[in-house]
Symmetry: C2
Subunit: 193 residues, 2 copies
DNA sequence: CTAATTATTGACTACTTGTTCCATAACTGG
DNA sequence: CCAGTTATGGAACAAGTAGTCAATAATTAG
């Protein structure tokens, strides 16, 4: 029994994600946000609290969507090892696209380090989810004989996750597509024998 | 024939590096800088121009020192392949140290992406130098039969450089030392057969 | 329709930002 | 010692910052 919102919360949150991803937390002003999101200042504060809360909400949403998308790519593969491959190649395929040009998750880690408890916890959560899924696939691949028995699923998963991070930083820095391909190729090489 | 500087330029630049590395460009205020560097505002502007110029000078110095240190570690090794190993292990050994907790170079890439021409050029230059040196060692290792003939020095060098990037981001995010060890182990695994 | 509740709008505030001005201090070649 | 030059310190400034206020608009339960 009150006036309804004039905007869709998730929709404008996606816009905020785009701004934060491109300019970082400190580099983004509330003016940047309201003008990009197309809502009034008070609406922003009413719906999201303050700048930091908005950032955290954006980061949560970004990371969740990001990992979900990646896992979906993996699930679409025809075998466990193909899942790992597909996830890595996914980055090469989307190299240079604006959405791939900056990972909000990696940027958050670099900007805040371990100084912000909340940022850290969001980052850790999605990192853990990704690693666990990768480890599961690697373990299955090992069981099926797709990869060597000497490979430790958990350690290898951390390695693959690290490769994903490196791919994101490379893309952010404007690396050539061939560079991404090379990184993927040698990452897979580590597992393939 | 004029009043001499009251401070050592490189010395205070090193302090600026520390501040920028921890807080990023946007996250650092001139107040942060002058109070950390222990010099007056006007001295800072007189010696370094403006905030951006100071940042660029700091980034140049950081990257140069960083790559130099890494190459020195490699040169101290007993064989080409040991050089690659030593460089990677170097990160594991220094894991958690404040100086390793944040890489100004990686942070610069994440914060600016490809938007700042000058940052990009500084980053590219040291990246190129590192990659070329890595490629040279890898090529020598291949010639000596330390690694497989199917390994392409340039591509593998990009892969190793990517691993270094990932190690830095992992450390920045407060990853456990074991994670770094795993990343190094699987990076080497890719080359070792 | 009315009352209650929430959203929107735009002006406003207190503060921080990067940068500059200016008077003074320290130095050196002549 | 003097004149010229550069460094320093502190105050000052205009622009930008995150966040708030108060009046108005839109909605619905009764």
């Amino acid at each position: 029994m009150a006036r309804p919102r004039n905007f869709n919360e998730d929709q404008v949150l996606d816009i905020a994600i785009g701004v934060f991803r491109e300019k970082g937390y400190e580099g983004t002003s509330t003016e940047d946000l309201v003008s990009a999101m197309g809502i009034g200042r008070q609406s922003l504060y009413g719906a999201f609290g303050d700048k930091r809360s908005l950032y955290l909400a954006a980061l949560r949403r970004y990371n969740t969507q990001s990992v979900t998308e990646l896992l979906d790519v993996g699930r679409g593969a025809s075998s466990p090892m193909k899942a790992i491959e597909a996830i890595l190649i996914h980055f090469v395929r989307h190299h240079g696209r604006p959405e791939a040009a900056a990972c909000m998750g990696v940027n958050a880690i670099c900007e805040f380090g371990t100084s912000d408890e909340d940022v850290l916890s969001i980052t850790r959560q999605s990192g853990k989810l990704l690693e666990q899924s990768l480890a599961r696939w690697i373990n299955e691949a090992r069981g099926k004989g797709e990869i060597d028995k000497t490979i430790e699923p958990k350690a290898a998963a951390q390695f693959v996750a690290a490769a994903l991070t490196a791919l994101k930083v490379a893309a952010r820095g404007g690396a050539a597509p061939a560079t991404s391909r090379n990184i993927v190729a040698y990452t897979l090489r580590s597992l393939s024998n």
